[in-house]
Amino acid sequence: MASRRRMLLKVIILGDSGVGKTSLMNQYVNRKFSNQYKATIGADFLTKEVQFEDRLFTLQIWDTAGQERFQSLGVAFYRGADCCVLVYDVNVMKSFDNLNHWREEFLIQASPSDPENFPFVVLGNKIDVDGGNSRVVSEKKAKAWCASKGNIPYFETSAKEGFNVEDAFQCIAKNALKNEPEEEMYLPDTIEVGGGGRQQRSTGCEC
């Protein structure tokens, strides 16, 4: 393991203010939740080591400010991204409506070499709130949008309860890896990112 070159996979989390970007990142990396995360100013990231069979990767997860007014910073933070995670709050319609905006903004600012096939993953967060009674965006609606954008993998999550977060990030890592230049890569047919069976609500990755 150690003999192989460790690779960095850069993931950007985008979405409206308050949808839970920081919480998702912290839940995945530190397995912790706090309802006192401050609003992110500028950007920050956490890293986590992930292992695919005999290879180690460093997943670098970027958490950005949610208010669109800060987007002019994006160009510095988005560059070199291997995967973009779009997050919305299933209880806030506007945050879902804005997904398209975030996606386009990312493609403009990061200007990936192959925008058509750049890997996105969509997360519908806060499914725990009020036992799901306050939810305004249906899973069906979300999946339909993801399908229309080139079959973006979709997960419903609760950062607070840790629900589906691990699975979502496995998929995110896997997609980030796919984005890497192929000559560097040995791509196994199956990838095991870590423990934990796939959750029911996940639509999973198609890879």
Binding site: S17, N35, I41, G42, A43, F45, Q60, R69, L73, A76
Partner: protein, 785 residues
Amino acid sequence: MLESEVHDLSDDADYAASQQQGSASMMLRSDSTKNSLREDAEIVFTKENVAIHPTQFASERISGRLKLIKQNSSLFLTWIPYKGNSSEARLSDDERNLYTIKAVSFTEIRSIRRHTPALAWPYIIVVLSSGLAYPPLYFYSGGVKEFLATIKQHVLLVRSEEDANVFLVNDFQNTLQRTLSSLELPRAVPIACGPSNLSVDESVLNENQGRADNDVNNGSFSAAQFHGRPSHKVDPARDLSIHVLEKFSLVTKFARETTSQLFRENHSNEFSDRRTHAQTNLDNHRRKSSHVEEKTSDESCVALDSQEFDNLSLVWGKPRQPPLGSGEWIIFLDSEGRVTDSEALRKRVFYGGLDHELRNEVWSLLLGYYPYESTYAEREFQKSVKKSEYENIKNQWQSISSAQAKRFTKFRERKGLIEKDVVRTDRSIPFYEGDDNPNVNILRDILLTYSFYNFDLGYCQGMSDLLSPILFVMDDESEAFWCFVALMERLGPNFNRDQNGMHSQLFALSKLTMPQHIPPTTIASLYDHGTSSTAVPFSANHFSDFNNHALEYLFAMTSPSTPVWPPHSLTSFFIASSADNASLVASDNSAVSFTTIIPCENLIGSANYIIWDAAVKLWFLVKAHINFFALCYFCIDSLKFVALLVELLDSPLHNYFKQRDCLNYFFCFRWILIQFKREFEYEKTMRLWEVLWTHYPSEHLHLYLCVAILNRYRGKIIREEMDFDTLLKFINELSGHIDLDANLRDAEALCICAGENGAACIPPGTPPSLPIDDGSFYALQDEIL
């Protein structure tokens, strides 16, 4: 002693003694000194406690008696040091007598420059028509005005048109030229050279010794070499050029002013604070002694003299003071509550901040919500008027019914955004903690009201961070709102959609860290800082401009912090300029006897010099870099050390950032947007803000603070080859680990040293400067929440 006491010279023991010891004097003899004053001489002015400072140590003063003596129609000036003053026991009689001014005739005096700093002892510099100048004479008992008035009664004394503090003696023509020459003193040679201070404070030596060992494990360092420099007889043939001397005097002056200012401003806390401070300084020194990139001056060590406050941590950022307390605060107010001297108040707050209990009252003034000249009554009146105005604006959104809100998307979204943020703003602070905390609701109400007050700007993340301490301090909804409004007047552009305010600051930051040579004006402004004296021009006669800067800088750096610097032992300088690619430039009297210069452009950046002074076996490392000032001096035997020294030093941060494509400085974004709110604990943030709000010495001190912090970690950043990501992470994680006071001092020093060049890096209107108001600043924004 009586000031106007008339002496018969024959009874004047000091005078007699000086006559006897005249042969030991290093004074350049002028003709008049050969005249012996006859017994009919009349003393028309006497001033006790007029002192010369041969070194920067306040305790190293030589006190004496200044006299004006009239004989026939001629006026003479004398200054005779007292004998055997106990507080000056360190100085030998010989040294004391070096400075004696024996009956110089006013026909030989060209001008007298007067310096009356607001917070320090006044002094004069007497310049002779030959271009020579005496060291500054400090009037510890005042009396400069009477001194000048007395002269005026006897000789023609004209105030210079160019400089109101220069008085020309017997100047009948060409005032301008005389003034200039009196200022610049070309060709001149000194009358007196200061003896080196042989009694260097032990702590200084020990500290340096410790550091040297620490850094180098080189047994060749020897404190004895600092100590053991022979007491010298001065050879008049080895005169220094006058501008060197004058600079030396000025540095001493600067030290004097700084220390005296500290002395005065700290009077209420007196000795314990001084000790504490001195200790802190030493601690700082020890803590940082393994750091290569430390600024020697930063910890210019302390002569902890029980008689005098000798702290010399002066040039590069003055020591922080205790916060302004209510007892002292009263002094700034007249009986009706007006701030009589807002400049003095701002300065005081800048150096010490405020006691928490005073913040409520002073913040609203600092922020400009209440004018400094307002009375208690006027403030009370404004408070009530503004309260109803606030309620009116608040009512605008409060009266929106839920049915209305349904059709008012922008309002709903804005409100939602604010509500999301206030519940995650400083909830660990007792003032905001707990469920259903009413202060959280007030935070929300103020922000929502503000978004109606300034609908174009609206709400933006970060605003809740800025408001939180203000509400905590003001503890009144309307007052907090208006203070916030005043703050946003200045910071609003940071939150603009196009982020122009932020970009201009980040850009300015990139320019501020750019390597630059220190121009003469900078040096002048350095000396000028905090004093009421005018800027001192520096002549550039002997060296190319470039090298002259370095030379001036060398002196600026060495004199205050290194008492061993021996200006009289240098016959010339070689300055190697990295700009000329290691060409050697000699001074015009190129009697080169000792100097080796090693330019180290590639290793430690541009404009760096290592100067070997063989006479005293000292290496002087001079860094002339706007971003970084250091003078390291070492006693060494071998050139081997240079390699080591160079290895220990880093190349400039700017070049590194450039190379790493980090010049957007986005890693400083959070620092600037919310004014370091997330970097310090709550109390420290409040301290920092009140310091920044004084806009003293610059509106943009926060940018210099950025540079200071970056500078502090430069070695680590470069050593660890941080790329943009790592750098951002590193800087985010500095949160909670930044030493506020130390960095404020560095920031102040950087700001002073950058001078106009620094200011020129910052475009007009850059926050927190008030925006250049065209009335449409926010109007172009759309889609904002």
